[in-house]
Subunit: 293 residues, 2 copies
C-alpha cells in the first residue's frame, strides 16, 4: 500500500475506519456515530482495557498494547487507511507502550521518543503510523458529537466567583501550556490548589479531597478547569471528562467543572449532566478567548 | 509607640529583634547569628510547633498561633520594633490562623485576607504588623548565612541532562509565578512530573515516589527545582529546603535538587550536604538568570 499523502483526502470515508479502542464508552460512541454516517468501522480493542461485551457488536481484532506490527497487518487486510485512537487507554497505554515497542524499533529511537514528554511521543506515534501508510485522525473529526458543547450539562450555573476562577484557571493553563505539563488545574478564590502533571485528573481531584479532609485546604468550593495545551496534537490528546470526573470533583468539594467547548471530549454527556445535578455542581463548556472573564 | 516609617531605618539594630518561631532549627540559627552580631533577640515561639528545649536558651514568650494582640503587647514591653517570622510554621500557620484571627479582626476583612491566595495574605500580615508599629523583615536580611550559596552542598554534580531539566524547571516556575501557585516542580527529561500547589514540597515528592512505585512514571532520575515566585514578599515566604527535602527527593528516585542561590533558605546546610551524599544525589544552588542552561 502506498503511503497516503495529504492530497489524498478525496478518498477519505471510503475506507473502513480503524478504531484502536481503550476503556470506557467513548470508542463505541465514536463507532456508532461513524456507522450512522454510512461508513464501516473495524475495532482494534486493547486487551484488559476495552469492554469485551460491547466490542462483540462490531467487526474487531483484539490486540495487546504495543502490538504495532499486528495492527498494521490486520488493518491493511481490512482495507483501513484512517486510524482513530480513542478511549481510556491513551494515558496508561503511553506508559505501557515502552517495553513492547522495544521489539519493534531500534532502542535509540525509542529513547528519543520518550524524551520531551507526551506531546513529542504522541506526534511520533502519528509519524510511525504515517510511515506504515496510515493516517491518524482525531475521533472528534469523525464524530464531532463527542465534543463538549458551549454551556451547561445539568442545571446548576457557575457563580460570579466561579466564573472568575475559571478565567484564572484558563489563563494559568495557557501560560503553562508552553511546557509539557498537565491540562488541568483546581482553583478556589484565585488560589491554585492543585496542578495536574503525571498523576492525571482523577488523582489530582483525590488529592484535593484529602487536603480538605486534613484541613490543609480550608477554603470552600473551587473549580476544576481543563483545557487543551496550545499547539498539542488534538488528534490524540484532547482533554476528556466523564461522569467519574464529576464524581471526583464533588468528592473534592468543588462547585463545578469548566472545560473548553469544542476542544474537550465528553464521555456520556447525558450521564455527566445527571451526575452534576445529583452532586449539585456545574459542568460548563466555555470559550477560551477571554470571554469567560 | 509611633508607627515606624521607611525613613526610620537608622535605628535598625538598636531594638531587640522579635523572632516569631515555628518548628525546626531555623529560628535558632537566626537567633544565634543575630546574637553573634551583638543584637539582643526575644523569641516568640508558637506552642506545639517550636522546640521547647532549644527555646529555653533564649529570652522568650510562648504564644498560640493567631494571638496577635498578645504578641503586640509583649513585643512592645520588650522594646522590639523589628519582627522576623521564621520556621516550619509559615505554611501550616497560614491555614491555622483563620479561626483565631476572627477574635481580633472584623470578619469582612478576614475574608478579604483569604481571597487571592498566599501572596496577598502574607503582605497583609506585614501591613497588620506595620499598623501596630512593627516592621516585618526577612530572616535572611538579619542572618544572610541561612541562604543557599551558589554551587554544591555535598559532592555529587548534576549531569548535562540534569542541568537541562533544571533550566526547564526554572523557566516553568518563572512562567507560573504570575499565578498564585507553588514554587516547586519535578522534571525528568523535560517532562514535568509534578507541580506543587497546596500540598507542599514534601507531599509532592511523596506523590512522585508513589507514581514510580505504581509504574505510572517509568522514566528514571529527574530533579526537584524550587524558586521564589517573581514579586513575592521575600520577608516571609522564601522557598526553604532541609535534610528532609533531600530524603524525600531520594525516595522519589530523583537525581538531585536545585534551588535559586541567595533566594532560598537552607535549614542545616551541613546536614543537607551529608544527606545528599548519603543518598548519592546532588543539591545545588543555581543562578536564575538563564546561566543554568
Amino acid at each position: 500500500m502506498a503511503v497516503l499523502g495529504r492530497g489524498n483526502q478525496s478518498d477519505e470515508g471510503r475506507n473502513p475506519l480503524a478504531i484502536i479502542c481503550g476503556g470506557g464508552s467513548l470508542p463505541f460512541a465514536v463507532a456508532d456515530a461513524v456507522q450512522t454516517q454510512g461508513r464501516q468501522v473495524v475495532l482494534f480493542p486493547l486487551r484488559e482495557t476495552a469492554d469485551a461485551h460491547s466490542v462483540s457488536a462490531y467487526p474487531h481484532h483484539w490486540m495487546h498494547v504495543g502490538q504495532f506490527g499486528r495492527f498494521c497487518r490486520l488493518a491493511r487486510q481490512e482495507g483501513c487507511r484512517d486510524v482513530v485512537l480513542i478511549g481510556a487507554l491513551v494515558r496508561p497505554a503511553v506508559w505501557q507502550l515502552r517495553p513492547d515497542f522495544r521489539t519493534l524499533l531500534l532502542l535509540p529511537r525509542i529513547i528519543e521518543f520518550f524524551r520531551g514528554g507526551d506531546d513529542h511521543l504522541l506526534s511520533r506515534i502519528a509519524t510511525l503510523l504515517g510511515e506504515q501508510g496510515f493516517r491518524l485522525i482525531g475521533a472528534h473529526e469523525v464524530a464531532p458529537e463527542i465534543l463538549m458543547p458551549e454551556g451547561m450539562l445539568g442545571s446548576r450555573q457557575p457563580s460570579t466567583g466561579d466564573d472568575e476562577d475559571v478565567a484564572y484557571g484558563l489563563r494559568f493553563l495557557n501560560a503553562a501550556g508552553a511546557f509539557d505539563v498537565g491540562q488541568a488545574v483546581v482553583i478556589a478564590g484565585r488560589h491554585i490548589l492543585a496542578v495536574e502533571a503525571a498523576e492525571g485528573t482523577d488523582q489530582m481531584l483525590a488529592r484535593v479531597a484529602e487536603l480538605r479532609i486534613s484541613g490543609r485546604i480550608r477554603s470552600r468550593g473551587g473549580v476544576l478547569v481543563k483545557a487543551p495545551k496550545p499547539g498539542q496534537d488534538r488528534r490524540i490528546d484532547l482533554p476528556t471528562i466523564g461522569p467519574q470526573t464529576v464524581e471526583g470533583a464533588a468528592r473534592a468539594g468543588l462547585s463545578g467543572i469548566a472545560v473548553v467547548a469544542g476542544s474537550t471530549i465528553v464521555a456520556q454527556a447525558e450521564r455527566v449532566g445527571e451526575a452534576a445535578d445529583r452532586a449539585n455542581i456545574f459542568a460548563v463548556g466555555v470559550r477560551d478567548d477571554g470571554s469567560a472573564e
